[in-house]
Point group: C2
Chain length 347, copies 2
Amino acid sequence: MSLQDLERPARQRLLNIAIVGATGAVGAELIGCLERRGFPVGQLKLLASARSAGRTLVFKGQPVAVETLTAEAFDGVDIALFSAGAAISRQFAPLAAARGCVVVDNSSAFRMDEGTPLVVPEVNGGLLAGRPMIVANPNCVAAIAVMALAPLHARNPIVRVIGSTYQSASGAGAAAMEELELSTAAYLAGEAFTPKVLPHPYAFNVFSHNTAIDPATGYNGEETKVMAEVRKLMGTPDLRVSFTCIRVPVLRAHSMALNVEFEGQVTANDALSWLADAPGVRLVNDNENNHFPMPSEATGVDDVLVGRLRGDASDPTGRTLTLFLSGDQLLKGAALNAVQIAEQYAS
Amino acid sequence: MSLQDLERPARQRLLNIAIVGATGAVGAELIGCLERRGFPVGQLKLLASARSAGRTLVFKGQPVAVETLTAEAFDGVDIALFSAGAAISRQFAPLAAARGCVVVDNSSAFRMDEGTPLVVPEVNGGLLAGRPMIVANPNCVAAIAVMALAPLHARNPIVRVIGSTYQSASGAGAAAMEELELSTAAYLAGEAFTPKVLPHPYAFNVFSHNTAIDPATGYNGEETKVMAEVRKLMGTPDLRVSFTCIRVPVLRAHSMALNVEFEGQVTANDALSWLADAPGVRLVNDNENNHFPMPSEATGVDDVLVGRLRGDASDPTGRTLTLFLSGDQLLKGAALNAVQIAEQYAS
């Protein structure tokens, strides 16, 4: 028996995979996750706009040419991982599915459709049992938040969540990450810089998430998505939830402060024990050394870091905790979660 | 009548002012605020440790030598503005006061002493009527927070505040600001950098405030100070309040997301009208153009910027608002507030 046989179940079928939006920030991470996690890839198709077609990327040491996205490109593909924006998903995901290709969609296009499962495998992976043809991958903040919320909710139902986010540039794509670096370098050099990707200066600045404000509610598009998706992912349509989404000058990990009210009384130690064996969660809660979740330590890490657990001083009934998380926006917030969904189909 | 007579009340007495900690980040702003606001300074004494004595700073275009801090240095001084840490304040503030010098103390030394007024002039400036010899200047987060909270509380009593901060480097002093710039430059150059001032990497990172965690509560020293000082400043000892204090890679303005529960129902429009004429508050609440408070626009500005006002989606009773603020940590969060207190004595 060869080493390869030991690593892979004997009769595991190889799957043909397509990545739509292969040249973007999430696309690069999708390729990396497939390779790093030993996904049983047969053929890998890299699809993008005609503008990017002809570029060559590398998978397992081999060059793979980027092809133009067309409906026909999905022929013979088992699973397509979409990360090219909601408009592309709306157009091409149904075409792919009609050709028998399962779609894992990282855009917002189908997330709130009643018939489309919105999945974080550790939280509600059971929804994949029926092998749906289109699966939605959640908003990055929602995906990271529920990694900590769901294991707590399973032990003591959560009734209210108030969140404030510290979101990284990567959520706005590779160009925003570059703009953060370039504008910061310009600032340090005392040079002027005109932002092109984001609407506000990003160097040493924070600003409210640049999605449109809903005039009816005052919440922006990001907050509205996060609140709806947290409810759908947790299976708690009546959960009371409020988020304030703020961009901070961090490259690729999202953090958030969560104030979480439970149905029954709860202590920080209860929550620590419930989170200790939660899959995909790493406790970073070292009070003595003041060591808690940070983007610098969440970057490039699959697990969501959780810490700063304490009983909320503003709730005298002892039913509220407050905590802080950091998770890689491009991994658990996007590519990793999509590949984990695809792995359910491969198993 | 000369132009000078027009600008200053005819018989306004000139006051001799001392700045303790003149060479620090707040010290520089104190000098700037006295000059910019036309404070009636007679003699200006700049005091610092022996290490800094002999340096020369500039006030109104004139060089002023930094002298060593001693008890005798306060002879003939009317008001001393202290910003050299709690230990120096505990030692020298009583000595200055015993010499008839009013102390406005920017450290935490006396803030929670029952007999010491803790003052933000716009909020509780009436406490200065008795001309106390020692006045405490609040923690920067508390000072900025109450600028928005107090005018709201005056119209509809606030019962609970949940805050998450986005705190700048300046709160940890000039050395931390320099460390943020140097570590960011190193990061961009691909060079290693070992933090010396702060315990964690600061370039493109956020981290929980680096004050010790209280083992009994799980809150850190900064959060504990903010919560106690907000209660004292608002005159609401029973206010339910919880803060999460986070450092972000911003140079000198603090921001915060506040979730504020009121006794009675409230709308965002109510709050906007109550804040519109609040002294020291500038509304930045342009939903259409996605323009809200940002450190980049609060830096160097006296007013606290307030915006993102909306009814909290997680409170079905309609008694909660959520909002976002930015204020200059070195101005309203420190030097400006101290000089405003001193102005009450000069008037």
